[in-house]
């Protein structure tokens, strides 16, 4: 769906079909804004990483394209899945980034800029982020790394899920 900049009336104008159709389209967009989502089917190998810098969890599937119309638009992003790390002295650090935005992309530095952290004893499952973006096409990625050594795991049996939509 899409949003169209409205037509302004002036005195004595009559409502034209084009105006009413634009209004209909914009109301429909407000009701059902653009969204993108991916839910893992729950089969296959778990995702793992041993790297401490921000790596794509899945550069194909947890990489969602979204066209926004707000100027700027507020985008809400959610992720959930069961994470583990192999050692009590390590932690899994995760984030979502707007990969088209240089500043947000800096969120790949998971040493000091991450959204949530899981240890062996605190299995984390979900988090929420917001992005303020200009109108256009944007790409949102889930990234992760493990701090302190060892292996981070995202269980595919938990059917990891990522969703983004324009608020």
């Amino acid at each position: 769906m899409s949003w169209t900049d409205g037509v302004e009336y002036t005195a004595q104008d009559q409502a034209l079909a084009a105006v009413l159709n634009t209004l209909k389209g914009n109301l429909d967009y407000l009701h059902l804004p653009n969204y993108a989502e991916y839910r893992h089917p729950g089969t296959g190998s778990d995702y793992t990483t041993t790297v401490d810098a921000g790596q794509d969890i899945d550069g194909t599937n947890f990489n969602l394209a979204l066209t926004t119309y707000g100027n700027p638009a507020l985008v809400m992003a959610v992720f959930h899945g069961i994470f583990n790390c192999s050692s009590g002295s390590s932690s899994v650090r995760v984030n979502m980034v707007n990969s088209d935005d240089v500043i947000s992309f800096a969120g790949r530095n998971l040493y000091s800029n991450y959204s949530t952290e899981m240890t062996e004893n605190t299995l984390g499952m979900g988090w929420i982020q917001w992005f303020l973006v200009p109108p256009g096409v944007h790409h949102f990625k889930a990234i992760w790394g493990i701090y302190g050594g060892g292996t981070a795991t995202l269980q595919v049996k938990s059917r990891p899920y990522m969703g983004v939509w324009e608020l």
């Binding site: 084009a18 407000l30 009701h31 989502e37 729950g42 959930h80 499952m125 269980q155 938990s158």
Partner: protein, 162 residues
């Protein structure tokens, strides 16, 4: 407030009051917040189960909603011990066919921890009536949702009227 499917107009069409009122009703629909929620009362007893198969957490955690073809955001915030949880939408669980669920306090090797869970999930549902349930199971013994010291809660939000 219901959502109206608006007509597509052609040049020369003349909208009447009923037509224009549908636009106003849709605006009101978008403006009205629609939220169903449940939170365990403060310092209530913990919720426990010994069920090793998927079961309803309870009637308080079942939500019957009617949507108009929009988006629905579900948020669940719980503290789990020896427990897996899942969401069931119209009789189908989100999780895989087995026992993992979408949230668990179990590691892959079976070690149990107490785990704070935030489960955010976006639903894209067809217009009509839907039932959303929180489900749980324990691998063995007793599984617990902490309610005594942790605020167990679930929200079902119809975004912009849903």
């Amino acid at each position: 407030m219901t959502w109206n499917t608006l007509p597509t107009w052609s040049n020369g069409d003349v909208p009447d009051a009923a037509d224009l009122n549908k636009y106003l009703q849709n605006l009101e629909h978008l403006h009205a917040p629609v939220l169903a929620s449940y939170a365990e009362p403060e310092a209530s007893a913990d919720l426990t189960t010994t069920s090793t198969t998927w079961a309803d957490v309870g009637a308080n955690w079942n939500f019957n909603i009617t949507t108009e073809g929009g988006l629905v955001l579900v948020l669940v915030a719980l503290r789990l011990t020896n427990l897996s949880i899942d969401l069931e939408i119209d009789g189908t669980r989100l999780g895989e066919a087995g026992t993992t669920g979408v949230g668990s306090s179990q590691t892959p090797t079976g070690t149990t921890h107490s785990t704070q869970v935030l489960l955010p999930h976006l639903l894209v549902l067809s217009a009509g009536a839907h039932t959303i349930k929180l489900k749980w199971r324990t691998p063995s013994g007793t599984g617990t949702i902490t309610a005594n010291t942790s605020h167990a809660r679930m929200y079902v939000m119809k975004l912009r009227g849903g």
